[in-house]
C-alpha cells in the first residue's frame, strides 16, 4: 500500500483514495475508540468525527512515513474522544466511595487476553478509564493528562490510583470466580 500516494490523492478529495485509506485506518482507530467508551455507539461517533477531521485537514499533513500517519490520525481520534468525554463528565467529582477496597497483591493485566483487558478497562468509570488509557496505554504523563482533560495533575494521579485499585479488584474477582 503506497500511503504517500493515497495521502496525495486524498488531498485532492479523491473519494476512492479516501475509502482505501479509510479501510487501512478504521480498524485500529475503532479499537482505540472502544477503550475510551463503554458503548459502541459513542465509539463509532467519535471514530467518524475523528476520521472526518482527518480527511478534512489532510492538506495540512506532510507525509513522511506510515507510523507518522497513523500517529497523527490516532491523536485526532483521541482528542475527539476526550472532547466528548469532557462534555459529559466532571473528573473531579468521581467519589472515592465508589472505589472498592482491594489489596495490592493482584495479578497483572499482561496475563489477560486482549479481549479481557479491553472488557476490564471499559468497565471502569469514565474518569478512571480515561486517565488509565492516557497514562498506561498512550504513555502521557500526569501533567499532559491534566492539560488534556482540563483537570489538575493531582486529580489525574488520584484517578489513576483509583483506576488501578479497581482493576486489581476486578481481576482478583475474576481469578477467584474462574479459579485461575
Amino acid at each position: 500500500m503506497d500511503y504517500k500516494e493515497l495521502v496525495k490523492r486524498c488531498k485532492k478529495s479523491d473519494r476512492k483514495a479516501q475509502e482505501l485509506l479509510y479501510n487501512q485506518l478504521v480498524t485500529p482507530m475503532y479499537k482505540v475508540c472502544l477503550r475510551y467508551f463503554d458503548n459502541e455507539f459513542d465509539a463509532e461517533d467519535v471514530l467518524i468525527n475523528g476520521l472526518y477531521k482527518f480527511f478534512h485537514n489532510i492538506e495540512k499533513f506532510n507525509f513522511s512515513d506510515e507510523a507518522r500517519l497513523f500517529g497523527w490520525v490516532k491523536r485526532i481520534v483521541i482528542n475527539e474522544a476526550l472532547m466528548l468525554i469532557r462534555s459529559r463528565a466532571n473528573f473531579n467529582l468521581v467519589s472515592t466511595d465508589n472505589v472498592e477496597s482491594v489489596s495490592d497483591n493482584i495479578s497483572a493485566l499482561s496475563e489477560l487476553q486482549a479481549e479481557d483487558i479491553l472488557k476490564t478497562i471499559r468497565e471502569l468509570p469514565v474518569g478512571y478509564r480515561t486517565v488509565f488509557n492516557l497514562h498506561v496505554i498512550e504513555g502521557y504523563n500526569h501533567k499532559e493528562i491534566g492539560e488534556l482533560l482540563e483537570v489538575s495533575e493531582n486529580t489525574s494521579k488520584s484517578q489513576l490510583h483509583k483506576a488501578k485499585k479497581m482493576l486489581r479488584s476486578r481481576i482478583n474477582l475474576n481469578d477467584q470466580y474462574y479459579g485461575t
Partner: protein, 238 residues
C-alpha cells in the same frame, strides 16, 4: 503488576485485539464508511456552495457598484439637463432685438424702460423658460447681487459656452435703449474659468450710474464638480 507493564506492550496487545471476540459489539465497517462519506460529501458541497456564494456576491457587488456609478453619471447629466431646461433663458427663445418678444417674457410683463434715467429697471428680468416659481427662486437666489448693483437681467449663455460675443451683447443692450453707455467686463474669460457658486464679482466695474457689467458665472453641484452651466447676468449700478 499493572504499572510494570510498558505502554507499548499493552498497546500492542490491544492492537492485536480480535473485534469479533469482543462481546456486545456489532460493528459494521461499511456502514461507518457510508456515514463518513456522507459527511465528506456534505462538506465538499458546502465548500463548493460557499465558493459559489462568494463569487455570486462579488458579481452582485460589482453590478451594484457599476449601476451606482452609471446612475450617478446619469443623474448628473439629468440634473444638468433639468437645470438647462428650467433655466432656458431668453437668448435661445427670444430675439432680444425684438422688443415685443422680450416684453412677453419679462416678469409681470413690465415694459422695457427706455429712459436711461429711470435706472430702477430691475423688473425687466428676463424670465426663464419653462418657468416655475421654484425655478425662478432658485435661479435668482443663487446669483449674488454685488453691492451697489441691481440685477436687471439674467441671460442664458448655456449655449454660448465660452464664446460670449461681448460686442454683440453690447449691441443688443444698446439697441434696447436701456442705457446709453454699456460697459462690458473684460474679465469674463478669466472669471469663467473659475468655479464659484455665485457671481464672480463683488465689485462694480464702474461706480457710475447707468453702467452695466456683464458677468459670467459657473456653478458647482453637490459633489463640488463644476457644472458647465454658465449664465449671463447683467447688473446695473444703483
Amino acid at each position: 503488576m499493572i504499572n510494570t507493564m510498558e505502554p507499548k506492550q499493552l498497546q500492542d496487545k490491544l492492537e492485536s485485539l480480535d473485534l469479533t471476540k469482543v462481546s456486545g459489539i456489532q460493528w459494521n465497517q461499511e456502514h461507518t464508511w457510508s456515514r463518513l462519506s456522507q459527511q465528506l460529501e456534505l462538506s465538499k458541497n458546502r465548500r463548493t456552495a460557499l465558493w459559489s456564494y462568494a463569487i455570486a456576491a462579488s458579481i452582485v457587488l460589482l453590478i451594484v457598484f457599476m449601476s451606482g456609478y452609471v446612475f450617478l453619471q446619469n443623474s448628473e447629466i439629468i440634473q444638468k439637463n433639468e437645470y438647462l431646461n428650467e433655466n432656458q433663458l431668453t437668448t435661445n427663445n427670444i430675439d432680444v432685438n425684438d422688443e415685443d418678444c422680450v416684453n412677453q417674457h419679462t416678469i409681470a410683463n413690465q415694459p422695457i424702460i427706455k429712459n436711461s434715467e429711470s435706472i430702477s429697471i430691475k423688473n425687466i428680468l428676463v424670465k426663464p423658460k419653462p418657468t416655475t416659481q421654484k425655478a425662478d427662486a432658485e435661479s435668482y437666489s443663487e446669483i449674488g447681487v454685488p453691492e451697489n448693483f441691481e440685477k436687471i437681467a439674467i441671460l442664458d449663455s448655456a449655449n454660448s459656452n465660452d464664446n460670449v460675443d461681448s460686442e454683440r451683447m453690447k449691441e443688443i443692450i444698446a439697441s434696447k435703449g436701456l442705457i446709453t453707455d454699456v460697459n462690458l467686463s473684460n474679465e469674463t474669460e478669466a472669471e469663467y474659468s473659475e468655479a464659484y457658486n455665485l457671481v464672480l464679482t463683488s465689485k462694480p466695474i464702474e461706480q457710475k450710474k447707468n453702467k452695466f457689467s456683464i458677468k459670467l458665472f459657473q456653478r458647482k453641484n453637490k459633489r463640488n464638480n463644476v457644472r458647465s452651466v454658465p449664465a449671463l447676468t447683467l447688473f446695473a449700478s444703483k
